[in-house]
C-alpha cells in the first residue's frame, strides 16, 4: 500500500507525459492517493513506535542498500500532508496555457518524490526521492512562473543544489561514522547503532553541523532563507503550494528522522547556535515580513518565519516540543498551501499583488476572502486550527527546557521572543488582509471584468484544507497519539539539564 501511494503519482506523471489527458488523470490520481493515504491512516496502529507496512527489496546486500519503505507516526503524518496538498494543488491548477501535460506531470512528480522521501527507511532513497522532487520544482518556476521567473529559478536551483550537496556530505559522513561491521543505509540499523553508542560524540558534532546546514538551506533557516520568498513569488501557485507546503518539510523531517535519534550529542552541542538562528527566523524575518509591499512576497517571508517555530520545537529536544513541531509542520503545510492558492487566484484576476493596488476584494470575491481569511488566521495561530495546537505544544515544550525558578535561560528567552513573534505575525497578516480584501476597491481594479469569485468547484479543495486544519485543531490528541510514540525512545518527556 505504501508503494502504491509513492508510485501512483509517479506512474501517472509518466502516463501524462506519454499523452494521457493531463488534468483528469492528475485529479484522479491525486484523489486516489489521498484515499489510499486515508486508508493507511485508518489501518495505522497508533501507540506503536515501530515502522508499519514495511516492504523491502534488496538492491545491494554488501552495501546493505535496499529499497525499504514503511511508515511510523511521523512519516505517516507527512504522507498525509503531501496527499492532501497534492489534491488541492492539482485542483487549483486549472487550465494551463503552455505544455499542460508537462505541468501536471511536474506537479505529480513533486508529490511522488516527497511521499517517497517521507516513506523511505533507506538513507539512499530518502535522499534520492527528494532530489527527484526538486527538479520539477525548478522547471515549474522556470517555465510556468511569473515575474522574474528565470532568475528566481536559477537562484533556487543553485541554492538548493548547494544545500543538497552539503546534506549529502553529511549523510556520507554519517554512513561512515558507524564501524564497518554495522554500516548500513537502513535508518533502523543506524538507529540501533546510535543507541548502542557507536557514533562518537566528536563525529556527531561534525555531522550534525553539516546536516543542520544542508537541511537548513532546504528549510530556509536564517540566514539561508533569501531564496524562498523570491522563488515562491515567481512560482505558479500549485508549485508554491507543493514546495512551501510539502517539499520544504523534507528538511525538517530529515532533522527529526536523523538528527534527533542518531546525533543527540551533536544536537546538544549546537543547540545555542540553532536557537539564535531560529530567533533570526522568528524575529528578524518576521520584521522583514512586515515591511513587504507585495502579497506573494509577504506570504513567502511569513512561511520562512514560521519555520522558526518548528525549529524551536525541534531544538527544545522534549517530546512535547518535538511533537508540537510535527503538528505545526502539518498545519503550516495546509495553511500556507491555502494562502498561496488564493494568492494565485488573485494574481490571475487582478494581475497585481502589490498592496497599494489591491483593496476591497472581499466585496467582489467573498468566497476567496473567506478562504484567505481562514488560512491567514490559521497561520497566525488562532485556536481551533491545528497551527495553534502545534504552537502551544512548542511553547510549553521549549519553556520547560532547562527551567529553574530563579532566572530565565536561553530557552525561556527564546520562548518569550517566540511569543512576541506571534504578535509580529498578527501584524503582518492582518495588515495584508486589510489591504487586500477590506476597504474600498483598489483604483486599478475598478471596472476590471476579470474580477470574479472562485469557481464553485474550488470550494472542495478549500474545504479539504480547512477541514483538516480544524479537525486536528479541535482534536490534537489523535495527532499526538499518532506521532509522539515515534520519539518516545529518544526523548524523555521531561528533559532537565
Amino acid at each position: 500500500m505504501v508503494l502504491f501511494v509513492i508510485f501512483c503519482p509517479i506512474v501517472a506523471a509518466i502516463l501524462i507525459l506519454i499523452g494521457a489527458s493531463a488534468r483528469k488523470t492528475a485529479l484522479a490520481t491525486s484523489v486516489l492517493t489521498f484515499v489510499m493515504a486515508l486508508l493507511l491512516l485508518a489501518s495505522f496502529q497508533k501507540g506503536q513506535r515501530d515502522f508499519q507496512h514495511v516492504t523491502s527489496f534488496s538492491i545491494s546486500p554488501e552495501w546493505h542498500l535496499s529499497f525499504t519503505t514503511g511508515l511510523d507516526g511521523l512519516s505517516l503524518a507527512m504522507v498525509l500532508l503531501a496527499a492532501i496538498v497534492t489534491v488541492a494543488a492539482v485542483w487549483f491548477a486549472g487550465r494551463i496555457d503552455k505544455y499542460e501535460n508537462a505541468f501536471y506531470a511536474c506537479l505529480l512528480l513533486i508529490s511522488g518524490g516527497a511521499i517517497g522521501a517521507f516513506a523511505s527507511i533507506d538513507l539512499f532513497f530518502f535522499y534520492a526521492f527528494h532530489e527527484l522532487a526538486l527538479i520539477p520544482t525548478f522547471l515549474l518556476i522556470g517555465i510556468w512562473g511569473s515575474g522574474n521567473r528565470v532568475a528566481a529559478a536559477w537562484k533556487i536551483t543553485i541554492y538548493l543544489a548547494i544545500g543538497s550537496f552539503i546534506l549529502l556530505l553529511g549523510l556520507i559522513l554519517l554512513y561512515q561514522s558507524v564501524p564497518v561491521t554495522s554500516r548500513s543505509f537502513d535508518i533502523r540499523a543506524l538507529q540501533a547503532a546510535a543507541t548502542g553508542g557507536q557514533i562518537s560524540a566528536d563525529s556527531q558534532r561534525h555531522i550534525y553541523l553539516l546536516l543542520l546546514t544542508g537541511f537548513g538551506i532546504l528549510i530556509s533557516l536564517f540566514p539561508f532563507h533569501t531564496w524562498a520568498p523570491e522563488a515562491y513569488a515567481a512560482a505558479p501557485a500549485p508549485a508554491a503550494m507543493l514546495h512551501a507546503g510539502v517539499l520544504k518539510k523534507f528538511g525538517l523531517y530529515g532533522l527529526l528522522r536523523l538528527a534527533i535519534p542518531l546525533l543527540p550529542e551533536g544536537a546538544r552541542h549546537w543547540t545555542d547556535l540553532l536557537v539564535v538562528l531560529l530567533l533570526g527566523n522568528i524575529i528578524y524575518v518576521g520584521l522583514v515580513t512586515i515591511a513587504q509591499k507585495r502579497l506573494d512576497w509577504m506570504l513567502g517571508y511569513s512561511s520562512v518565519m514560521h519555520m522558526g517555530y518548528i525549529f524551536l520545537g525541534i531544538a527544545s529536544a522534549s517530546i512535547l516540543g518535538v511533537t508540537g513541531a510535527v503538528v505545526l509542520m502539518f498545519a503550516h503545510g495546509l495553511s500556507i498551501a491555502l494562502l498561496f492558492a488564493i494568492a494565485g487566484e488573485l494574481r490571475k484576476r487582478a494581475d497585481t499583488l502589490t498592496f497599494d493596488e489591491l483593496g476591497g476584494l472581499g466585496k467582489v470575491m467573498p468566497f476567496a476572502g473567506l478562504a484567505f481569511g481562514l488560512g491567514a488566521f490559521a497561520a497566525i495561530g488562532l485556536p481551533g486550527f491545528a497551527n495553534f495546537a502545534g504552537e502551544i505544544m512548542i511553547f510549553f515544550g521549549a519553556f520547560r527546557n532547562g527551567w529553574d525558578m530563579e532566572r530565565f535561560h536561553i530557552f525561556q528567552v527564546a520562548t518569550v521572543l517566540g511569543l512576541w513573534g506571534v504578535v509580529i505575525s498578527t501584524v503582518y497578516m492582518l495588515r495584508a488582509y486589510r489591504r487586500t480584501f477590506m476597504g474600498a476597491l483598489g483604483e486599478r481594479l475598478r471596472g476590471r471584468k476579470e474580477l470574479a469569485d472562485l469557481r464553485p468547484a474550488l470550494r472542495l479543495p478549500v474545504t479539504l484544507l480547512v477541514g483538516a486544519l480544524l479537525y486536528y485543531g479541535f482534536f490534537p490528541q489523535s495527532f499526538v497519539r499518532m506521532v509522539a510514540p515515534a520519539f518516545r525512545t529518544y526523548l524523555t518527556a521531561n528533559k532537565q539539564p
Binding site: W63, A153, T415, V416, M438
Partner: protein
C-alpha cells in the same frame, strides 16, 4: 449531564450550519442563530437552578502527565451566574438584531459571527483550565474582529477591526507567558490543581508577582485597560448591537471575570494587587475625562464602558471579587441597555451618530427615551437604580482600603454624572438640530422589547433581594453611610454642572483639545510604532535585500561565477543539462565516498 455541552455547542452548531449552508437565506440564518442562543439561555437557567451538575470532559492534549489539557467545565456559582447573564443579555441582543440588521447585506455573516461569539464567550465562562480559557479568549477576539469589521468596505471599520485584534494580542502575549510561568511552577494548567500547589509560587514572591501581572496583561488587553485601551472606542465602528453585547456587556467584562477566576493566585501577591488597583483607577479617571469632550454618541458610551471596567478592575485590585462581580452584573444590563437605546436612536435617524445633530428626541422616541434615561441613571449611580448599589460597594471598599483610590473613584463618579447628563441633555432635549432628527419616529417592537426588559433589569438589578440570588454580595460596613452620601453629592454636582452648561446649546461651550484628542494616545502610539516596529522592519528588510541576499548570497555566487568562467566547457545553459550533471555528480561522489 448533557446540559453544559448543549449550552456550548448549540451556538457553535448554528455558526457552522449558517456558514456552510444557509448564507444565502438571510432570514433563515437569523432565526437559526436566535434559536441557538435561546437554547443556551434555557439550558443556562436550568443549570442555574440545579446543584451538583457535572459534565463529561475529554482530553484535548495529554502528554502523560507532563502537559495535560482537559476540555472540561467548571460549574460553580460564579460561572453559573455568568452563564445566565451572558446568554440572557445575548438572547435579548440577538432579538434586537433581528430589527437592527433587518436589511443588511451581510446579515447571514453577522448572525454566524454572533453565534460563534456566543460559543466562545460561553466557553470562557465554562473553562476549567488556563489553556481552554485562552483558547476561547482568542476566539472571542476573532469574532470581535469579524464583527467590528462587519462593514469591511469602510476604511474606518476595517482599520478598527485590525487594531482591536492586534492590541488584544499584545495583552495575550503577556497572558500566555503568565500561564507558562504558573504551569512551570505548579505543573498544571487546571485551576483546581493549581490551588493546592500554590505554595511553590508563594515561596517565590517576585516570581509570583511577575506571573500574576503577566496574567493581568491578558485582562488589560481584553478589558481595554490603560495603556491598551485604545482599541475599544474605535471598535464602535461595528454595528451597535455588537457594541452592546461584545464591547460593553460581555467580552470586555471577560477580563474581569478571568481575574476573579484566578483571584486565588493574584491575591497571593500584594504588589500585583496594588498595580492592578491603580491600573483600574487610572483607566476609570482617564476614560471619564476623555468622555466629557466626545461628540459621537457611541464613543461617549464606549469611554463610559472603559471607565466602568476601570471600576471593576479597581475592585479586583482591592481584593474584593464580590464587588467586582456585582458591578460587572449590573453594568451588563445597564450598559447593554444604553447601547441598544443609542442604537435605536441611530437606527431611526439614519445612522447619524453625532450628538450635535440630534436634539429634542424625547418626544419622537418615547420608549427609547425612557429606557435610555433608566440606563443613564443606573450608570451615574443614582439611587435606587442598580448602578448605585454596585458602585457604592466599590467606593466603600476603596474608602476602607486605599484612600487615594477612593478620592479618584469619587472624582470619576463626578465626571460620569457630568458627561452622561451632558449626553442626555443634548440628545433628547432642546430643539432638533437637524432635519432627520425632527422627522424620526419610534423603532419597531422587536427592538423596543429588549429595551424594556433590560430597563427593568437595570432598575431592580442592584437590590439585594434580586442580586442576592445570583451573587455573593459584598458585605456593607458600618462606615459606609458616609460613602453613599458623598457619592450622591458628587452626583448632584456633576449633573447640575452639566445641565447648567449644556441646556439649550447649539454647540459645545467647552473646548479642551487635550481631552477631545483623547490625551493624544493614538498619535503617540502611531509615533511609537513608526519609530520602533516600522523602522526596525525597514532596516531588516533593507539588510535582507542588500546585505544578505545581494551581498552575501550574490557575492558568493558572483565569485563562483568568476571561477565558473574557467569551466566554460560545461556551461551549456540549459536547466535539464544541469540537473543531469548534478545527478551524475552525486553518483560519482557516492562512488568515491563508499569505495574510497
Amino acid at each position: 449531564m448533557i446540559l453544559p455541552w448543549l449550552i456550548l455547542l448549540a451556538p457553535l452548531a448554528s455558526a457552522i450550519v449558517i456558514t456552510l449552508f444557509t448564507l444565502r437565506w438571510k432570514a433563515l440564518s437569523s432565526f437559526i442563530s436566535v434559536a441557538a442562543v435561546l437554547i443556551s439561555f434555557i439550558c443556562s437557567c436550568l443549570i442555574f437552578t440545579q446543584s451538583g451538575i457535572s459534565a463529561r470532559q475529554f482530553t484535548w492534549i495529554d502528554f502523560g502527565g507532563v502537559f495535560k489539557v482537559p476540555f472540561g467545565f467548571l460549574l460553580d456559582n460564579l460561572s453559573k451566574t455568568m452563564l445566565v447573564v451572558v446568554s440572557g443579555v445575548g438572547s435579548l441582543i440577538h432579538i434586537y438584531s433581528l430589527g437592527y440588521m433587518r436589511d443588511d447585506e451581510g446579515k447571514s455573516r453577522y448572525f454566524a459571527a454572533l453565534s460563534l461569539f456566543m460559543f466562545a464567550m460561553l466557553g470562557i465562562v465554562l473553562a476549567n483550565n488556563f489553556v481552554m480559557l485562552f483558547i476561547f479568549w482568542e476566539l472571542v477576539g476573532f469574532t470581535s474582529y469579524v464583527l467590528i469589521g462587519h462593514w469591511f468596505d469602510r476604511d474606518a471599520a476595517a482599520s478598527a477591526a485590525k487594531k482591536a485584534f492586534i492590541t488584544t494580542r499584545i495583552g495575550d502575549f503577556g497572558f500566555m507567558l503568565g500561564i507558562l510561568m504558573v504551569w512551570m511552577a505548579t505543573g498544571s494548567v487546571v485551576f483546581s490543581d493549581i490551588a493546592p500547589r500554590l505554595s511553590t509560587l508563594t515561596g517565590h514572591p517576585a516570581f509570583l508577582t511577575i506571573a500574576a501581572l503577566l496574567i493581568f496583561c491578558g485582562a488589560v488587553g481584553k478589558s481595554a485597560q490603560f495603556p491598551l485601551h485604545v482599541w475599544l472606542p474605535d471598535a464602535m465602528e461595528g454595528p451597535t448591537p455588537i457594541s452592546a453585547l461584545i464591547h460593553a456587556a460581555t467580552m470586555v467584562a471577560a477580563g474581569v471575570y478571568m481575574l476573579v477566576r484566578v483571584a486565588f493566585i493574584i491575591q497571593a501577591s500584594p504588589t500585583a494587587l496594588l498595580v492592578i488597583a491603580w491600573i483600574g483607577t487610572i483607566t476609570a479617571v482617564l476614560a471619564a475625562l476623555i468622555a466629557t469632550q466626545q461628540n459621537d454618541i457611541k464613543r461617549i458610551l464606549a469611554y463610559s464602558t472603559l471607565s466602568q471596567l476601570g471600576y471593576m478592575v479597581m475592585a479586583v485590585g482591592l481584593a474584593s471579587n464580590e464587588a467586582a462581580m456585582f458591578h460587572l452584573f449590573t453594568h451588563a444590563f445597564f450598559k447593554a441597555l444604553l447601547f441598544l437605546a443609542a442604537g435605536s436612536v441611530i437606527f431611526m435617524i439614519h445612522h447619524e451618530q453625532n450628538i450635535w445633530k440630534m436634539g429634542g428626541l424625547s418626544r419622537k422616541l418615547p420608549i427609547t427615551f425612557v429606557t435610555f434615561v433608566v440606563g443613564a441613571l443606573a450608570l451615574i449611580g443614582c439611587p435606587p437604580f442598580s448602578g448605585f448599589f454596585s458602585k457604592d460597594a466599590i467606593l466603600a471598599l476603596a474608602y476602607e482600603r486605599n484612600m487615594p483610590i477612593f478620592v479618584m473613584g469619587l472624582f470619576t463618579a463626578f465626571l460620569t454624572a457630568f458627561y452622561v447628563v451632558r449626553l442626555l441633555v443634548i440628545v433628547f432635549f432642546g430643539k432638533p438640530r437637524s432635519e432627520i432628527a425632527s422627522e424620526s419616529r419610534e423603532s419597531p417592537f422587536v427592538m423596543t422589547g429588549p429595551l424594556i426588559v433590560l430597563a427593568l433589569l437595570a432598575t431592580i438589578g442592584g437590590f439585594a433581594f434580586f442580586a442576592r440570588n445570583f451573587l455573593a454580595l459584598p458585605i456593607e460596613k458600618e462606615v459606609a453611610i458616609f460613602v453613599p452620601a458623598l457619592a450622591i453629592i458628587v452626583l448632584i454636582l456633576g449633573s447640575g454642572l452639566a445641565i447648567a452648561l449644556y441646556r439649550n446649546r447649539a454647540r459645545d461651550p467647552l473646548d479642551v483639545e487635550l481631552l477631545r484628542r483623547k490625551f493624544y494616545f493614538d498619535e503617540f502610539y502611531g509615533w511609537l510604532i513608526d519609530w520602533t516596529q516600522e523602522l526596525l522592519a525597514h532596516i531588516c528588510a533593507f539588510f535582507d535585500r542588500w546585505i544578505i541576499d545581494a551581498g552575501a548570497v550574490g557575492g558568493t555566487s558572483g565569485g563562483t561565477w568568476g571561477i565558473g568562467a574557467l569551466l566554460r566547457l560545461v556551461q551549456v545553459g540549459n536547466l535539464q543539462a544541469y540537473a543531469f550533471l548534478f545527478g551524475l555528480g552525486i553518483v560519482a561522489l557516492i562512488y568515491f565516498a563508499v569505495f574510497r
